[in-house]
């Protein structure tokens, strides 16, 4: 992700300054799942950090009667990298038969793939499985405050800072702005594909989610950082 910012000339955005819900998933596994097999929905790449924790990752399509009892957690990581029909049915039966935590490393239900088209995100698939199984899954991502806390803690490791000195910038009312507001930050809504200038008033009024500032575009100079 950092490299895509570098292409835009934003060299101050180094990988260690980007926070993702994967980091919270990793922290959760480190703290709560000491050893054993962890099943996942996603690409092999999305599961790379599981082994570094001393856990044994297993793709959902490889779960079967003989290994099911050894699985300690189920991770929803990515919508790519597995057969949906087989994988979702296996996820449902795994969660019905075993009492293990399911962790969703993405709160979005869909994401844009082109300017016109959406794709179902792994968070949307997880919502369907959760609804059918009737159990409570653990979700990491905005607007949940744990995501903001994680970032806030990282910043405070560098220097003392109060919430009054931070602004949250984002293009989506339901995640970036709602989460930032609740965490006590000033918020800047940047108008983009997710929130178009012509819709912004209607959406703010309808949702009741009010950014402190609204900004026409996210054109920023690298030296601003």
């Amino acid at each position: 992700m950092a490299s895509s910012y570098h292409k835009m000339g934003l060299h101050a955005i180094t990988p260690d300054r980007i926070i993702s819900s994967g980091m919270l998933t990793k922290e959760y596994l480190y703290l709560k799942v000491p050893d054993g097999m962890v099943a996942y929905l996603g690409t092999e790449g999305s599961a790379h950090y599981i082994e570094s924790l001393g856990l044994h990752p297993i793709p959902i399509n490889e779960v079967n009667e003989s290994n099911m009892d050894k699985i300690k957690a189920l991770l929803f990581l990515d919508d790519e990298g597995f057969d949906w029909k087989d994988g979702l049915n296996k996820a449902i039966n795994l969660m019905r038969k075993r009492t293990i935590p399911a962790i969703v490393a993405n709160t979005d239900h869909a994401y844009p793939v082109t300017i016109h088209d959406l794709s179902v995100a792994v968070g949307g698939l997880a919502m369907m499985v959760e609804n059918i199984v009737g159990k409570k899954f653990i979700r990491f991502g905005k607007p949940d405050s744990q995501m903001f806390m994680f970032a806030y803690d990282l910043i405070r490791d560098h220097r003392p800072i109060s919430k009054k000195e931070i602004v949250m910038v984002g293009d989506t009312l339901q995640t970036d702005i709602l989460g930032g507001n609740k965490f006590g930050l000033d918020t800047v809504l940047v108008l983009s594909g997710n929130t178009l200038p012509k819709d912004v008033d209607t959406r703010v009024t309808a949702s009741g989610i009010v950014p402190t500032y609204i900004c026409d575009s996210a054109v920023v100079q690298p030296e601003m950082f």
Copy 2:
């Protein structure tokens, strides 16, 4: 479906006595979609009645930019017969771009495939699409009263009958018993895989859905009909 009852020796159950949510979908199309293309998720067999209505069925995986504008309705018929990833993403983008009705011929979110395992039903897939798209889909099936009305009308075509003379028999509280109760019928809960004897008290109390009678098993003599 009638043939499976025949194997059980229940010869009085002829095809014209079986009512399915497909019949309501067919009636809906007859009344509300006079002509044009209808996209569907399901097997070719599940879509057989579309052509008999003078409509042109098109499998969801064949929907594309060039034919999208001709589609008049989207049907969720069956979880088999199409590629889930491609089909569900196409269903989402079709419903986002076009203002057409989506009809779900199945209210279940999952169904048993073996004594131990469930599969996601097309009603579960439709629930995910509906949630992502944010539009209101039309669902046919129990506990909706339209299903009961359809059956009640068919019976009254044969002879006058009052609701006090009918009982609804079923094995699921949330569909059979809830729908029968609401429609004003006496209801019989038959204990089976869906509601086990050891769970029945807890489930009735927790759901607040109370059958008039509870029956240990559905063993019936053909001559009872």
Copy 3:
């Protein structure tokens, strides 16, 4: 209600031609609750038909430990006529302790009291109680097809008619138009306080609920009937 139409000069609308969700509640009680006490939230007037069924109505605020065991059903009839705090807490504890049906004779969560202001409807209060108690309540009203069926049956008592000869006229997409569409009727959305001309396109697109016709105003001549 008929008298308010008479003031508008619509004398063809006689009381026997008006259908309300109260009629379905009355039919439900007649078919499913043969005798005993029935607790209700609402005015004394809203409960008038309970006694005519041979049942004994009791206002929710008079429910207590000594009579609770005799109550056979709980009815949500009206937001007026009882103390909310005491009544809602009593409704919750009654539904937790007893396994009896709760019937909601109104699907709206709120209703307009002036051109600017809403009031919580008894359907909104019932939704809160249902959510806290976790049991399934029985609701009568649009868009549920039972309401349309009841009307359709009444019309057919006078003369044979097909669904293709009936239109549903209403001012609300989520109830009148959705219910009419699902029942297979052509639908007419009349623009009014509930759906303003400036909002109609956005709302149809956002909800996916499409009326067959849209009509600027409901100005009708009595001789039209």
Copy 4:
């Protein structure tokens, strides 16, 4: 609250060691609402901290056309201290007419008043208002991680501590245990009125919320602290 612990002989629990969702509400107001009127549902006592922030508290029943435009936020603090019918209708119309934040200082929908009876909590009332108004309210309380973060920060002000050294003790799966697990803590479910010994296995399996330890009772010696 501290005094009730003192009566039990737990003198180590001083007021500065008790964390409540009111503290998060206070922090939110301090960070996000610099001045003006704040309307509230609750007792005068529950609103005591509003004035100390330089804000002007106004009970919901005193909101009217003339002061409505000056109100900067709506707080749901307590189910006592106001007339429900007038207050809830005023809350709905205030949130429909004004684009201001609504803050709910309690995530519970109901709470026990005796061993047998529940009362609707202000969180239950807020849920009804939120549902009718269709806007997103801000909720503070377990299982939200912000509550755990607030406590964690307070502890770290005294001494460095890792999450592996903390356990979360509580009697409710959906709030204490779910929140503690997600925050990465070991969790102890104490069996009490909220989770009875006979129900614990069923509830853990049904909810999928698994405590690290289950403990028969919360009998603790003061010297344990």
